[in-house]
Amino acid sequence: MPRRVAAGQLFLAAGPAGARIGRIPSGSLAPPCYAPRAVSRPTLEPLIAKRRVILCVGCGGVGKTTIAAAIALAAARQGKRVLCMTIDPARRLANSLGLERMATEETTVPRELFAAAGLEVAGELTVVMLDTKRTFDDLVTRHASNAAARDRILSNRLYRYISTTLAGTQEYMAMEKLLAVQSEGRFDLVVLDTPPTSNALDFLDAPDRMVGALDSAAMRWFIEAFQSTGRLSLNLVARSVSVVLRGIGRLTGGGFLEQMAELITELDDLFGGFRARAHAVAAAFRSPEFAYVVVTTPAPAALREAEFFAERLREQGMSTDALVVNRVHRRPRAQPSDAEVGTALAAAGIALGEGGVARLQRALHEEESLASADTASLASLERSIGADRATIRVDVPALPGDVHDLGTLAGISTLVGG
C-alpha cells in the first residue's frame, strides 16, 4: 500500500547527497523527513468516481498539466482506465512518467514503472498529446462525402494554415478530440488539460464561434456567389450583399475572397456534419458527466482568472466542481530561536559555514513572507468561490523544484485525487 502523504511532507523533499543539480531526487516523498501523519482532507475522489470527463482549466503557468496528470494518476490508482490528454509537449511530465516525451500517439504507462516506484495501480494510465492538425484532418475525413472532396480540402492552402498555424483552432480541436475519444468507450475517464490560452474561457466559446461562422449569412453568400460558376461572381447575389462582400474584398485584397470562397465551398460539403458536431461539443460542456476543475495559484492575477471562470460557469448554469490551488506556500510551523536552530544543526550533524544560523533564519523569514502573501490572497478567494459549498477545494503546496519523478507526482495525486 502506498503510504498516505501529508501535505507538509511535500515541502520536505530531501534526497541523497550528490543528487544532480536542479533535480528533486527520486522518491523525494519517501523517506520523508517527518514521520507520516494521517490527514483527512477533501479530494477530487467523488469526481473521479462518478464523472467521465474532467476538464482542467486555468490560465497559463499555474501547473495545469501537472495537476491534470496527478488527477489521472489518482484515477488509475483507483482502478480506472484513464486517458490524460495534454496540449503541451510537457517533456518533464513525460519523463516523470518514465516516457521519453508526450507523443501524439496514445502511450500507456508500463506497469513496471509503477511497481518500481512502489505504486499500486489497479487501473491503467494512458497519455496522449493533442495533435491539432491531425484532429482537424480526421474531422474532415469523417465528414467528407467522398475521397476527392476530402483531398481537395486537405490540400487547400488556406486550410493548411487554418489547421496548423492559426490560433483558435487548438481550443476547438481539443474538444473535438475529447468527444471522439469519449464516444469510443475505451476509457472510464478522460482528463483534459485545456490549452494555455490567455483567457481560460476561450475554449468554452470555441464551438459557438465555429457554429456562428458556419451559420453566418456571409458564409452562405460566399457559397451562393461561388458555387454555380466555380468563380466568385458578385452578380449572383443581392446588391446589398455584394456591397458587403466588395467591402471585405477591399480590406483583404480581391483574390483572397476567391480563395476563401473556394475553401468555404469545399467545406460546404462538410458543413452539416461540422455543425452537428459543434453542437454536440457545445452540448457536451453541459453534460453532468463533465466535471470542471479550476486550477490556479495564489498569485492575484491567476486568482482573478479563476474567479472570472467560476463566475462564467455559474452564469451558464454549470458549476466549478473543484478548485485546485497549486503552489501554496506553507507558513513555517515554528519560529525557532537562534539557539534552537544551532542545537538542531548540531544534532543533525550539519556543519554550515559562518552565519549559517542567520542564513537559515532568513530563509525561514522569506518563506513566512511568501506564506503571508498567499494567505492574504486566498482569503479573498474563500469569500468568492470558496463560499460555494459544492466546490471541492484542494491546496497543493509549493515545491522547491519541478516534478521529475513518479514519486513526487504520486504525492500530488494523493493530495488531489485521494
Binding site: A167, G212, L251, T252, I350, A363
Partner: protein
Amino acid sequence: MASLDSLRFVFVTGKGGVGKSTVTASLAVSLAARGRRVLVTSTDAKERLSLLLGAPPLEPEVRELRARIWGVKLEPSVALREYGAMILKSRALTSAVFDSRYTRGFFAGVPGLSEWAMLGKAWYHAIEEAPGGGPRFDTVLFDAPATGHGLDMLRVPRVIVEIVPPGVLRRDAERAWAMFQDPRQSGVVVVTLAEDMPANETVELCQALGGELGLPLTRIVVNALVEPLFTEVERGLLLQPRSLDRDLPGNEAIACGVRRAIRERVQEESLAKLRALPGERIELPLLFDYAPGPPTVAKLAELLR
C-alpha cells in the same frame, strides 16, 4: 539599455505567471523616465497594466496614464472596425461591413483575424504621426497574451504575408512584419523565471525567434531571483537524507534550509541555461510582493535603467 531606448516597437512575451505585465509596466516607467513617449498596449480583457501604473483601467481609445505614458486596450472587434474604417473611407460601407448581424459571426470565426486586428492596431500606433508631424509615440510596448509560447500572435502577420494575395491587408502585414524583423526598430523582450520549465521554454522560444521567425531578441528578463544563501557544499549537507523530529522547533529551520537548497540548485542550473543564450540579459530579484503596484514598478524600473 541603449538599444532598447531606440526601438519603436517592443513585443514583451513570456509564459503566464512570470511577471510579464509587471516587467512591461516597469519598462514603460523606465523608458519614460529617460524622456521617451511610451504607449503600453494590452490584449487582455482583465489587464493589470493600468493597476501597475496607478491609472484607471485601459480603454479601447488611447489615454494618457501618467507623464509620457499612454495606454490602450486592444479589443479585436473595435480594432478591426477601426482598421476597416481607415481603409474603406466610407462610414456607410464600414457600417454595412461591420455592423451587419450577417457578418458578425463570420469575422469572429476567421482564425487569426482577431490577432491581426490587435497586433495591427499596435503596429499602426508605432508608425502613427503626431498632428504636428513626427511620431506620436517613441516606443510602443506590446504586452503579449500569455499563451503557451506567445508565438501564435507573432506568426499572424507572416501567415497573412504568405497566404493573402496582394492588397491592402497584405501590404500592411508586410510592412508590419518588415518592421518587426528589423533590429533597429523592433525587438522581443522575453520574460522568464529561473525555474526548470520556464527556462527550458525560454531556450525553445529564443531558438524559434532566431530561426523560424527571424525576429530580433532584445532582452531576456529573468524575474524573481532569490538570493543564494548557501554554498554548493552547504546545499549538499542540507540535502543529505535524514529523519527529523517534528517536535524539535529548530528542525523547522533545517527543513526550510532543505527546501531553499533545492530551490537554489534549480535556480543555478536554470540560470546557467539562460546565460548561455545569446543577447543581453537583465536579472531581477524576487521582491516578495504578491500584489505588485506602482511602488514595485518604480523599484524595478530603477533596476532596469
